[in-house]
Assembly symmetry: C2
Homo-oligomer: 519 residues x 2
């Protein structure tokens, strides 16, 4: 047994049994160790952004971390954007990053880089194992950190020689990590929240993180129904359990003017696992803080605390019975389109309408999917996973990871074409693992969000240089070819009836399928 | 005129007139500024690794930096791997990275990250512009740093509000950067090198960086011919001018046992722009330093110095006339295959045989192309650009950049399939810009180099987990579909005659074309 074996054993002893991987030479002893552990499911990504994005999607659905295996500083660098998203989602993750042997670093071989430096900006915790003996304890610490609420990115750097060094026969069994109890909020916080809600003034209960899971939402829904308090989520959320009888939650819009308008009459903002809302970006002459300056903010509980317990406590404090009815979603108020040229709205309505029970929706639809949550509030029960950190390229990998976590559920990805291109290699992983992923590419053939932002900076008619940077044309992307190139069947449609047919066909299949929706 | 305009003007005033870009909202004012500067050529990459890889390829061929335009920490993160390669190549590059407005950072919006932290590991120089007034001088400093020999990665962070702030009408014109003179080596270094060469013992002249360009190689070739000294390059090189009458240079092999064998009888190693050879990776029981311990090392000149001058001075010191004959490449010693199942060797021979005059070869062929330099030593004159930092995914982007720099030259990319997948989005840029890029995918459908490394760690028969991480099968990639999906015509061949036909067809065309060579 060598150091690499001891890390694998520690992962498995702590129920970390999926490893999304893109290894290289410095990780070969780790690969050899994984090869001796058939209980570990190794899932290859052909690019590291797929690896970290899949680990994010996996943990969001499995409620436990996956491991990743990455190759030195550059391999970790390739995974950074989706690590950023995972860090923002507070997803638990254990990254194993190989590095040169300890004695080899001084020679500055071509792949040498400051691995800690690359890791730190997108990790909550970074450590380098210095000996084979230390590796099991270091891995246990990484797992403990990753699992601490609300979830953390733990990055463990393993020099090749610590991985390959043999351990003595009497090496102790790997440590089983005991999770710390999740603290409760305080009576003062609960009373302050109750007071705001009882004030009679406009009050919004803003929910984030674990407050968007069903148990917490049940309490929030009872409070909303009984008191009239508004429920609002942040723009970007890790996972919302919604649809069916679940409590509907409004979402803070991305466009700054709409976000400011949404909050303009709010006098009290009660925060449960959410942050006070801020602009996604700054704009000249527009505020960074979106709530009115005189709005009172009350923190009911943070993501480090037990949010479901806090909301239930608040309901108790407000005298609302545990079996009181909760807020219900309004009945579907859309007309299902039947024919005509395909539009983003038609895609959103049709997906919402046909959404199967227990679907997982991975949403990186950017501009074209902004109405999907409205149409789908009354869909069958489903989970809705979003781009949390604004680093585009999460949709396809996140879907792969969610499907690994939940093999019996349909994963539907609403994927904008521009962002889909960042990590399109995830389609291969979907094919390799035969994951039940239905991808809808919302192909508007431009960075539409940036066209909007160009208008915001005062450019009404972009010239050649701007158009060359904002439009995805000359040539158009053909997603059916891209998908087939990676072993995923695909169709392209540009009519409502064509999309409806393709969608229903895709929902009947098992395994990956892609619909290019030309809108 | 705002801060962003002043940066664009400074770039243009200093002959930085190509900008490889993947902008986002925080760079919109910069995009608007670029839109007002038709002299700037803006080249879009659909992923940031394409952007930085293309900027690397461009600068290697243009001998001047391009600018890149990247979106905050995550966008820069996506570009890090190819920045690492460029840093190792000592390619000059000016990265412009947008960030949140200075006053907005404190609110920790979703895309907030430590941009300096992301930049530092792969940059030689990092600076944040703090005011619109400072931006022109900061950009000039970035250009000066980038151009300082042997070349540097300069990363300038532009907060959105410094970019959008209007400058007064009397703002001075942008600074024109004056490059520092490149220092010469010393007479002591030249004499020490001459003494080693005259010793009569086995001596190798190891060339790196600018010592692999024709003028320096001419001097090295005269020295080699006159004295019998061996010429050797590092394994990974920025650009070698070779073929035709140019001086042939042997290459240090990648596999460690071959590298050690190549150097085992060397008594004196004279270094001209090269580093003392070290193992690409460490292996148990194998050395990190590849030259024998008792080998004397003499630094003739470093990359910071004028390498062509140093080699000419050394030739003078050795009494070799300026018009003395130089070392010649051995006559081609291969047989051109005509039929049969396609192999890597056949691809290498056929490409070497048909290489057009002045071709640029972008080489990320990894295992399958290791013999290409042997076959092509006597090909028509060409430039050979390699993966310098070991971070795979440079080939297709580098080709795009080289083609932008040299529109009249054929760019031929020898691209392994596994590494090609990291940045396949570059094919779209090749199509968008109609670049004269012929791509040969050496499709062995595995990470073959890692199969070799698995054997090195003692695993003769990989099990399921190892095979799942090392093989690119189930499903196979289909590069013709992938290419067509991005607007690049493509064919797939698996016979020698099929490849020969496709190659000759591809060489006759103008514009991008891809051959999937199934080997």
């Amino acid at each position: 047994m060598n150091g690499a074996d001891s890390v694998c054993d520690t992962l498995l002893a702590n129920d970390v049994d999926v490893c999304f991987a893109n290894p290289g030479t410095s990780e070969m002893h780790f690969v050899a160790a994984l090869d001796r552990k058939p209980k570990m499911r190794c899932v290859l990504g052909l690019f590291e952004g797929v690896v970290t994005g899949a680990a994010d999607g996996y943990a969001r659905m499995a409620d436990k971390p996956a491991a990743t295996l990455l190759h030195l500083g550059p391999g970790l660098g390739n995974g950074l954007a989706n690590l950023h998203n995972a860090k923002r989602a507070r997803t638990p993750m254990v990254n194993i990053v190989g590095d040169h042997a300890t004695y080899h670093v001084q020679y500055d071989a071509p792949l040498t880089s400051d691995v800690e430096g690359v890791a730190r900006p997108m990790s909550h915790w970074v450590k380098r194992s210095l000996t084979a003996q230390a590796m099991s304890a270091d891995a246990a610490e990484a797992i403990a950190v990753a699992r601490r609420k609300p979830g953390n990115i733990a990055t463990l750097i393993l020099p090749a020689d610590t991985a390959w060094t043999e351990l003595p026969a009497d090496t102790p069994a790997p440590v089983k990590v005991t999770d710390a109890a999740v603290p409760h909020t305080s009576i003062e916080a609960v009373r302050a929240a109750a007071q705001a809600i009882r004030s009679g003034e406009v009050t919004t209960l803003m929910l984030g993180g674990a407050a968007l899971r069903d148990r917490a939402l049940n309490a929030a829904g009872r409070i909303a129904r009984a008191t009239g308090v508004r429920l609002l989520s942040e723009t970007s959320n890790r996972r919302i359990e919604r649809g069916g009888a679940r409590t509907p939650v409004d979402r803070l819009p991305y466009p700054i003017d709409l976000a400011v308008a949404k909050l303009k009459d709010v006098r009290h903002l009660v925060l449960a696992g959410a942050k006070a809302p801020v602009g996604f970006f700054a704009y000249p002459g527009k505020p960074s803080l979106l709530a009115p300056p005189d709005c009172q903010q009350v923190v009911l509980a943070t993501g480090e605390q037990d949010l479901a317990h806090a909301l239930e406590w608040l309901a108790d404090e407000l005298g609302i019975a545990a079996d009181a009815p909760r807020l219900a979603a309004p009945a579907a108020a859309y007309e299902v389109p039947a024919t005509g040229k395909l539009t983003g709205a038609a895609v959103n309505i049709l997906v919402a309408h046909h959404l199967p029970e227990n679907a997982i929706v991975c949403d990186e639809s950017i501009t074209q999917g902004r109405e999907f949550p409205i149409y789908s509030a009354s869909s069958a029960p489903h989970d809705w996973l979003m781009l949390t950190g604004g680093a585009i390229g999460i949709g396809l990998p996140m879907a792969a990871g969610a499907a690994v976590a939940c093999p019996d559920r349909k994963v539907i990805t609403l994927q904008a074409d521009g962002s889909g291109m960042y990590t399109l290699q995830a389609l291969w992983t979907q094919a390799r693992e035969n994951l039940d992923c239905l991808t809808v590419i919302l192909a508007n053939r431009s960075y539409a969000t940036l066209h909007g932002e160009m208008k915001n900076v005062g450019v009404q008619e972009p010239g050649r240089n701007a158009r060359r940077m904002l439009d995805l044309e000359e040539p158009y992307l053909d997603w059916t070819h891209l998908a087939r190139g990676m072993g995923v069947e695909a169709v392209s449609v540009d009519t409502v009836e064509g999309f409806a047919r393709a969608l229903q066909d895709g929902l009947k299949r098992r395994g990956p399928f892609l619909i290019e929706a030309l809108i």
